[in-house]
């Protein structure tokens, strides 16, 4: 049955049909697809439309309040002048009248005066990459280890189980802080241009390693139940090796579980990234992520500045928060919908 192409496709088709009938889940998927498209394509698109990118600094996009620099609010036209004119006493003069201007749709992001909207979109790219990459790392660790533990049992199982129990009770945040500070000199520079900002692979790797215990337990539990199933016995009676049974008979059974977990894990990984960036041990500060954008108002834990409402706008908090909320809620709905669509097979 499992190797039969038609049967597998019809199962997939049934599941897809069930998923598509679930309106909440489809809406979640649509919202998440929009968030992902905006994150990966929105930044470059807006940059080419507006003529500046998320790294361009506009000195005239900030207002001197006397206690600091307050970024301009939503829908502001600011001069593109890169040099601030000062009078004889060091005070700033207004920009020349004929200076060309550019539009900051969501205002500026902080004292440096960069485009908040483009940075939120670029930040979404980095955050999503961390979330997806960490899931990938976790699956790569969890599937071999969990299969070995669940399928072979015995000593392998007890070693792996003790290991996961140790990891599971970890206050994850403190351990990630410890690991990323120790490893950042070697791992942080890894990246690939603007596509994968440096620091993102490090976060994906660390978060993936320390969250892999969860899929590992799922895989192990599933294989514990399946290893004495009739079709496994049949395969063994036909002379299949353990590796073959695992690869072609048991791995397909793991896909639904891992899909349901993966959708919600992308969301939790993004939340972890937010936390670590805000602590100040995540992706480096010049790279926009949703976490580092949230940290612009009060600084990271290392360089905390008192919340002075004069020097920031509510948009700096609102846009990244909304982006995180929308992405995480939609991913949760997708995961729930997947679970509902796949449940009949799980119960069988």
């Amino acid at each position: 049955m499992a190797g039969d192409g038609i049967a597998v496709r019809s199962g997939l088709r049934l599941t897809t049909a069930r998923f598509l009938r679930d309106r909440v889940a489809v809406a979640g998927l649509a919202v998440f697809a929009f968030v992902a498209a905006a994150s990966f394509g929105g930044g470059p698109l807006l940059s080419s439309l507006l003529g500046h990118n998320g790294f361009t600094q506009f000195p005239y996009a900030v207002v001197d309040t006397g206690t600091g620099l307050r970024p301009v609010g939503m829908w502001s036209r600011v001069p593109t002048t890169q040099q601030v004119r000062v009078d004889n006493y060091g005070g700033t003069l207004p920009a020349p009248k004929n200076a060309s201007t550019t539009l900051l749709i969501a205002g500026a992001d902080g004292p440096l005066g960069r485009d908040e909207l483009i940075r939120v979109l670029d930040g979404g790219k980095a955050s999503l990459e961390v979330g997806l990459g960490a899931v990938l790392v976790a699956v790569l660790i969890a599937v071999p280890l969990g299969s070995a533990a669940g399928f072979f049992g015995g000593a392998v199982d007890s070693v792996v189980s003790r290991l996961t129990e140790t990891l599971m009770a970890f206050p994850l945040v403190l351990f990630l802080v410890f690991a990323s500070v120790r490893l950042s000199p070697t791992l942080r520079p890894i990246g690939w241009g603007r596509v994968i900002p440096s620091g993102v692979p490090m976060m994906a790797l660390l978060i993936g390693i320390f969250t892999s215990f969860y899929p590992l337990r799922l895989v192990r539990a599933q294989l514990l139940g399946l290893r004495s199933a009739e079709f496994v016995e049949a395969a063994r009676a036909l002379g299949s090796s353990s590796v073959r049974i695992l690869r072609s008979h048991l791995l397909p059974h793991l896909v639904p579980t891992l899909l349901v977990w993966g959708a919600v894990a992308v969301a939790t990984n993004m939340l972890l990234e937010v936390g670590l960036s805000v602590i100040g041990v995540g992706v480096q500060a010049s790279t926009a992520t949703w976490g580092s954008l949230l940290a612009t108002t009060t600084g990271t834990i290392y360089f905390a500045s008192p919340a002075n409402t004069q020097n920031y706008t509510i948009w700096q908090t609102l846009f990244p928060s909304l982006a995180i909320l929308v992405a995480v809620v939609s991913l949760n709905q997708v995961s729930e919908g997947l679970r509902r669509a796949l449940e009949p097979r799980d119960l069988a």
């Binding site: 003790r162 129990e165 140790t166 990891l167 599971m168 009770a169 970890f170 206050p171 994850l172 945040v173 403190l174 351990f175 802080v177 410890f178 500070v181 120790r182 969301a267 939340l271 937010v274 936390g275 805000v278 602590i279 041990v281 976490g291 949230l294 108002t297 009060t298 834990i301 290392y302 905390a304 008192p306 919340a307 409402t309 509510i314 908090t317 609102l318 928060s321 995180i324 909320l325 995480v328 809620v329 949760n332």
Partner: protein, 366 residues
């Protein structure tokens, strides 16, 4: 001795073992890493010479035999002191002036305990009625609204909720401060220097304490409120159809009494098990809540201790040990308290659960 008493005693012994094991592990991990404690005395970048580093380690006492350091740390701890931290040690006239850990640690513990205990109370006070209301009539409007709120609560990072609360409530509603912590007891302001105006009163006292903690408690509670409401809802939903509940209704008990006396008690063991396992997570959440509200609590201190001093670039072993020990103690004591309550609500001993949870505590703070 009763079986319950023996069980609690065993749990206390496990807790004690964990309390001994965690600092020991911290020592071992620290010594396995290439750390240079001498940097705390001569912190100026890369020009530090080998001799200076050795001299610094000698002055800090970090060059003594490892067993000696380990034993003296326990000796000091059993005398009620975490000793001196390495950070802030200054060389003055060829004499080393240490700064003790206690003045940093004690207020941090107080702040975090206020946050933890108050937040937990808030969670319990809200999650039980909300969960009961939602679980009593699954699919009704109130159930859907509560489930939606729970979903949003699960999806919101404490940082995000704290940021939104400080931005929209704290910064604009003047009666609730946006950040900072006030002590419960008001300390008298220092007497003004002669010829100067009196210093404004330092914030403090029960009212200031309460208003300053209101928003942090809310942020802390939001995440756990969602988790616990969902759990209580599921438990109530599956108990409400049981025979004994129907019997209670048939005997004429009011709906409130049925819920309070017959339905909710069956959720209590699960809630307590979850509380015991969530204490570690709660300390992780405290890190963010404390940061967002400008507290100087234990979570923040733990981040500093784990990350090392950013200006020195080295780990402060005494501070790290103190933080690990205190967090372990909180987790162990919290588990013990949850366990004691567990035996009150459900005196049956369940050996299978016990084994799993002991492991969970053991790995608590590593």
């Amino acid at each position: 001795m009763t079986r319950v008493g023996a069980r609690l005693l065993r749990r206390a012994a496990t807790g004690l073992f964990v309390l001994v094991a965690m600092p020991t592990l911290t020592f071992c991990i620290y010594w396995a890493m290439p750390e240079e404690p001498g940097r705390f005395i001569y912190p100026f970048g890369f020009q530090t010479t080998r001799f200076e580093l050795q001299d610094g380690a000698r002055r800090l006492g970090a060059d003594r035999p490892k067993l000696d350091q380990y034993a003296s740390w326990w000796w000091h701890l059993l005398h009620g002191s975490f000793g001196n931290q390495w950070g802030g040690a200054t060389l003055n006239d060829n004499r080393l002036i240490f700064s003790p850990i206690a003045p940093t640690l004690d207020p941090a513990i107080r702040e975090t305990l206020c946050l933890l205990v108050g937040g937990t109370l808030l969670v319990v006070l809200l999650a039980v009625p909300l969960g009961a209301l939602a679980g009593r009539s699954v699919g009704s409007l109130s159930d859907r609204v509560i489930s939606l709120l729970a979903l949003v609560g699960v999806c919101v990072h404490p940082i995000v909720s704290a940021k939104l609360l400080t931005t929209f409530v704290g910064a604009h509603a003047r009666f609730i401060p946006a950040g900072g912590y006030c002590t419960f007891v008001r300390h008298a302001p220092p007497p003004p220097a002669p010829g100067q105006a009196a210093v404004a009163a330092v914030c403090g006292g029960p009212v200031d304490w309460f208003t300053h903690l209101l928003l942090p408690w809310t942020s802390f509670a939001l995440l756990f409120l969602a988790l616990y409401t969902r759990m209580i809802r599921a438990s109530v939903a599956e108990t409400v159809g049981e025979d004994f509940v129907r019997s209670a209704r048939a005997k004429g008990a009011s709906e409130a009494r049925v819920l309070a006396r017959h339905v909710l008690p069956s959720a209590a063991p699960r809630v307590l098990t979850m509380v015991g396992m969530d204490i570690g997570t709660a300390i992780g959440v405290c890190v963010f809540v404390e940061y967002a509200y400008g507290f100087r609590g234990l979570g923040r201190l733990a981040v500093y201790a784990m990350a090392g001093d950013p200006f020195v670039g080295a780990l402060d072993l005494p501070l790290l040990l103190a933080v690990v020990t205190v967090i372990t103690a909180i987790i162990v004591l919290g588990n013990l308290a949850a366990d004691t309550l567990f035996t009150v609500v459900d005196p049956r001993v369940r050996p299978s659960e016990r084994a799993g949870r002991t492991k969970a505590i053991a790995a608590g703070v590593m």
